[in-house]
Symmetry: C2
Subunit: 413 residues, 2 copies
């Protein structure tokens, strides 16, 4: 027999087809709290450089191995100067008007320079996740590409910022989740439905990358729409830092959209969408939810981005990319892991489970290394790992020191 309260609780439970908050919290909040109790998360820090965090709470200094400032552009003197110059030149933080109506000239110039740099029609947004939140439901509703509504297939490992929008997309068309890089499943869907869109990362935030060649074949054969978040390879891959996906496409097709955050390798903030058609930008400004609301990159972030674009056009970008690549190669040589050799900066060191991941991160912290323990829902339930994010600014000595430390710790567990 259920009590009244229980039955009332049952009455108001939604269908939870695309999310199950109760389960997520039940499984991972204990691990978060354990990490918090051991002062591994919810920290405040100063950062004399990208390599060093000085924890405000304890004064401890640690070497950062969990920052996505892959090229160190977030602290590049010219990027900082670009932000300062834009503030001093415009004397404003922003126009204070909706994007669809009036945009600051400097923002317009930045979009033009991005378009030229990456060979695509580029639209800026306040964040990469705001761009996805705005565009994906319109894609499902059939207003981004020809032919009407599209069945949406999300890769199981695609970033949360896209998976989060499944219920909104499902208002417009059927939503499915496929296994990681499952081209057979995708081909079946393309045969079954007249129009399909696939939502994925270019370079995945947990390592690995999209099966681009096979995906392009499906696009050619069936008109499959490809939507990629390539935040983790922007700036670090491609002659002009256009990222892993864009660098492999001869040109942008109207059936492809790439979004990327500018707060990772690129070093500033906000996000961009690379599009195959110019006219869709105005359309997004009118109808794409968070893209249309009165929010966009603030002037200092625009100024910093213009400076970073300039670095992307110079030989310095290649130098930084090669430095990063040498560090990735060195790491892969001395500690081969699952994604070794893929040229991307994210590596996962598997440990037995979530609490073991926290234990390992705590032991690393004691030895002066700051890493993130990863657990559900970032990895599968019951699993755990240490995420390593390599950067151009690390020295071989620092990497070797970290590898020694973690091997010792893992051997002693």
């Amino acid at each position: 027999m259920t009590t009244n309260v229980e039955s009332a609780h049952h009455d108001v439970a939604g269908p939870r087809r695309y999310r199950n908050t109760d389960k997520m919290i039940e499984f991972c909040e204990p691990v978060w709290l354990n990490a918090s109790d051991r002062r591994l998360i919810n920290l405040h820090a100063d950062a004399p450089s990208n390599n060093t965090y000085v924890v405000r709470e304890t004064g401890q200094e640690v070497l950062s191995l969990c920052s996505f400032a892959y090229l160190g552009l977030n602290t590049h003197p010219k990027v900082i100067e670009g932000a300062v110059d834009a503030l001093q030149e415009t004397k404003t933080m922003g126009l204070g008007v909706g994007n669809a109506r009036v945009r600051h000239s400097l923002l317009g110039r930045m979009e033009e320079e991005f378009s030229d740099l990456f060979g695509a029609h580029v639209m800026a947004g306040v964040t990469c996740s705001a761009l996805s939140a705005g565009i994906l439901p319109l894609l499902a509703a059939g207003h981004v590409a020809e032919g009407g509504r599209r069945v949406m297939v999300f890769d199981r490992f695609c970033h949360f910022s896209m998976a989060y929008m499944k219920p909104v997309c499902a208002e417009e068309s059927p939503v499915f989740t496929c296994n990681h890089n499952d081209l057979n499943y995708l081909e079946d869907m393309c045969r079954k439905y007249p129009r399909v869109a696939y939502i994925a990362d270019g370079a995945y935030s947990m390592g690995g990358d999209a099966a681009l060649e096979g995906l392009l074949e499906l696009q050619n054969r069936y008109g499959l729409f490809l939507y990629f978040d390539d935040s983790h390879s922007l700036s670090i891959v491609g002659e002009r830092g256009e990222g892993m996906t864009r660098s492999q496409l001869p040109q942008m097709s109207p059936l492809t959209i790439i979004v990327a955050s500018l707060n990772k390798g690129f070093g500033t903030g906000g996000g961009i969408a690379m599009l195959g058609q110019r006219r869709i930008i105005d359309f997004f400004q009118h109808h794409a939810g968070p893209v249309a609301w009165s929010q966009n990159m603030e002037i200092p972030v625009v100024g910093a981005s213009l400076a970073s674009i300039k670095i992307h056009r110079s030989s310095e970008l290649g130098e930084l990319q090669r430095k990063l690549q040498r560090n990735i190669d060195y790491f892969d040589r001395i500690l081969p892991t699952r994604f070794a050799g893929n040229g991307l900066p994210i590596r996962i060191i598997d440990v037995a489970g979530p609490f073991e991941a926290v234990n390992t991160a705590a032991a690393l912290f004691e030895r002066g290394f700051y890493n993130s323990a990863v657990f559900f829902p970032i990895v599968a339930r019951g699993e755990g790992g240490i995420r390593v994010m390599l950067r151009a600014e690390l020295t071989e000595e620092q990497i070797a020191g970290f590898v020694d430390a973690i091997q010792e710790i893992l051997a002693s567990l």
Copy 2:
């Protein structure tokens, strides 16, 4: 008989309970395109001050009457200096690590100063809409306040950034939309369901405000959770600029959350949530979607915000608020409209329909005034209006000039 293509189209249409993109685009895209053809939207501009836009495309100079820089703090020399100082002091755009793990000390200091300023536990977010997108589904799922899942009732006029999340909330619990400020409906819902949350604006972006007194009675009587977006009154209402809603609450209850954008009256960027409990902040950092992902206010925006907080603590805030209030009173005296006398800066001048709104905005533009024509879905289908946003920096002469112009135009239509 339907053709194959039609039936395939039918097959893939979602339920569209909470959004209908086709209808929205069908009704309002023609008006947007008309406004675009007449060069009233999708403009780029420089702004020598908040009063003047110089349109890049045409060189035309217009007086802005559609900016939410209500107090002009976005161009305040001390705010700009605050952004520059933070950049020069920290030498970085941001830490490049997830919020839940490490936050920059300066961001931590800003949150502490906000908490002290507004008498609430304050959490920062990359935008106000990201805060709502993260918090609302957890509220529906019953993880924000005691007692479990809550039925969600959205005010019909609440901002798009909250209404956009209805399908995500509906995964967790039933979602309803009520008429604007309909306290009777809300009381019925409180009687029918054990736990209800009401989602509304404090000051509405189309003018008007929440029925706070009645809502607080329902909270006392039934434990109704109140979630407000008070972006359009932050800084401009309250002794410390705490906004219309916070200024009327003796203290923050664990059953109330107020979010607000910092890019309007406050003059910087990003957003804040005012909370009644400290412990929920860490919880949001772990589980609240866009709040938990690796995005937050960039360092120059944090620096600008610290400077704006300082102004909020000085007598200058009151002076700017009074200037704005004098302009609002003056406007209401010479052109009384629906919300005259409510002390808020947004006014709507009704016109016959959407295309008439564009015509009126075009005629105003010719006379040197930049206003926004508003139409569906901002107002009801078939309706149209001119939105006026008053600011402290406007002079009485400028306001009188605008009122003369629009009266002449409306008389001639």
